[in-house]
Amino acid sequence: MFTPEGMTRVLIAATKSQMEPVIREMYRQHLFHIEEFVEKDKKEYEGYRIGTPLPQANETSRELLRLRGINNAFMIRDEEEETGERRKHAQLTELIERELPPLEQEVEDLLSRRSRLDSQIKEYEQKIDGLKPFNSVPFDLELLRDYQTFSVFCGYISRDLSLDIPHEIFTTESKKERFIVLVVSNQHRSIAEHALQNAQFQAVPLPEETGPATNRIGYYEGQVLSVKGEFEEINRRLEEIKKQHKAFFLACNELLTSDVEMAEAPLRFATTGESFIVEGWVPTKELDTFRQGIHYATGGKVYVYELDQSEVEDVAPTEYHNVSFAKPTELLMDTYSRPRYSELDPTLLVSIIFPIFFGIILGDVGYGIILLVLSLGLRKFITGDEGKRLLNVLRNASISSIIFGILFSECFGFALPWSSILFSRHLNIGGHAGGHGPDVTSLMMMAIWIGILQITLGRMLGMANHARQDHGSHRIKAVMANLGWIMVLWGILFMLWAAFPMPLMPDFTELPGVVMGLNLSSILGIVLILLGVIFIVRDSALEIVELPTILSHTLSYARLVGVGLSSVAIAMVVNFIAIGLIIEPQLESLTAFGVIVIIMGALVFVIGHLLNTILGMLGGGLQSLRLQYVEFFTKFYKGGGKKYTPFGMKKRFLED
């Protein structure tokens, strides 16, 4: 539960003739995590080379590439598709040879025709764009070009044009711009150009067309329509093919992908002329199944050897081994870093503590219910594995939020019919909450206690981790150093208890003094701190600069209260503005205008609480996550484990 899945290092050696059956069996079992072979100067691997892919690799990957191109065009993504009826392997292989090529040919033809039509449409549309300025020009376009003695200017001007040379001009004005066609004789060309420049002239190229522009535009629009019709026809046909053959494409993709992966597996093996070796990891509890499978598949012609953990340099990959309640939290662990194989896996602890912290921060029945509904409702729309896990985490957190809401007696910032079972968080905003206001000191002390306990737990886990991982004299030193941190923390506490009476903490101020006015508690505190510092320094003297983090990390847990109270405050302010300031005064003497104001007030209420829900979810989630990551994990957790990725795939569209 607190350790990852046990792994055993396995070495497989056989002649090359057994390569294919071994690969097939490994792929089928989906258990063997291959350690990739790297050609280096390791003594035991002298003379070994990286293997070459199986002979069919080239052809299969070409086929796969083609199929993926089509799947892309159809926007078929296998991870998003529901698993339907599974197909038989042998049957599908035959179908791939017989039916897939003509189908692919058809789709490719359709696609290339579609892209041709698409570019044609673009071309026509460009022509229409070029013709548009000439839309209201009443003469044929060919009359505007090919003159030897005249110059023709077409374009937009934004100022008035003044010309004192002989010219002919056609002007058409729209709301925003003025379009002109100007004809002058060549000898006046430069004067005309100068005048046009003053009028901020922007030239428009003359289209290479004949006849009036309106006619040409009409013609091209007709063309676009007819091409678009054809385009739609192709799309319809493609859609038909997609509908009819989608399951087939998905199954083919799976089959070819697995074939390619198998064919390329030797690239991760160590080979000689006639034999091959592959090393990897198998979950210890599956070892017998794996061994028997390989034995059966090859008729016992393969040598499977279990290596001792101490014989290998590489670290085993990590596969979580948690109860199903803690599974969704693995996502939060992966976000930080996957635990190393030799390390304690705190997933279960986090899966319990995280929702509790979330609940303490956002302890409100109303918000809890909204988030619970959200986490259950979004399940339909979020299909990915990670998304589902996140929703499960949110579900647990929102249930905890409801429970703490009942304990704090809060629902959308209003008090529930009972008074808080835990400490009160009701603020006096707008005179809404009666009583004595929030019990901040007790709340703070509660948060600090949570901090002290979690940090102590973290250090204890640190001791366990060092005891498991380290060797020799360093092991004892590291364990003692972690004990030292606990001692300093509790030493400070004993000294504080001796000096100040504090709520929710033991009060040792009344103890009789022993020496120099110090009582037993302070002496115990001093001894603990001194011993603790000695233990810490013995492991690493530099750690001494980290001593203040004892205080800052413990006080950091005050955020459980601080962030929580701020969310309560926002909720109460929203209630006060919406109900106390907007709705209630109108209710005293109801008018038609008053009804509108009341609706506005209701809107303020809804939007305010919506925003606060989002803020509360982000604040509650991030802050409690941060307490795990920064304050808890830094005490014992390193992470950086390799993910266990067994060779093979989970079949979704094929029969096993």
């Binding site: 976000t335 930080y336 703070m444 109270l565 802050q623 941060r626």
Partner: protein
């Protein structure tokens, strides 16, 4: 304190007025505590946040780590909030 005493002497404030002004002073103190620490946190997170976004764009795997680094200065404003709450209640 001396100022407060002279103020009382010169303007002859009633006890209620003094109490009210003390509440006001507390509220001002609380607001300074939250406001200034908020600015400090913002300044600290500014640089970390932009670097974090850059790092995430390069390599998505570091998202968890940089999120963590980004919220570290949050502690400053939390302390401010704690001081403010203790002042007010």
């Amino acid at each position: 304190m001396a100022d407060a005493a002279t103020a009382v002497a010169t303007t002859e404030m009633t006890v209620e007025m003094i109490k009210a002004s003390q509440i006001g002073m507390k509220a001002l103190g609380a607001s300074i505590a939250v406001g200034s620490t908020g600015i400090a946190t913002g300044l600290a997170e500014m640089a970390i946040g932009s670097a974090a976004v850059g790092a995430t764009a390069e390599n998505k795997d570091v998202f968890g780590l940089v999120l963590l680094l980004t919220v570290i200065p949050e502690t400053i404003v939390i302390f401010g909030l704690v001081v403010a709450l203790l002042l007010l209640f």
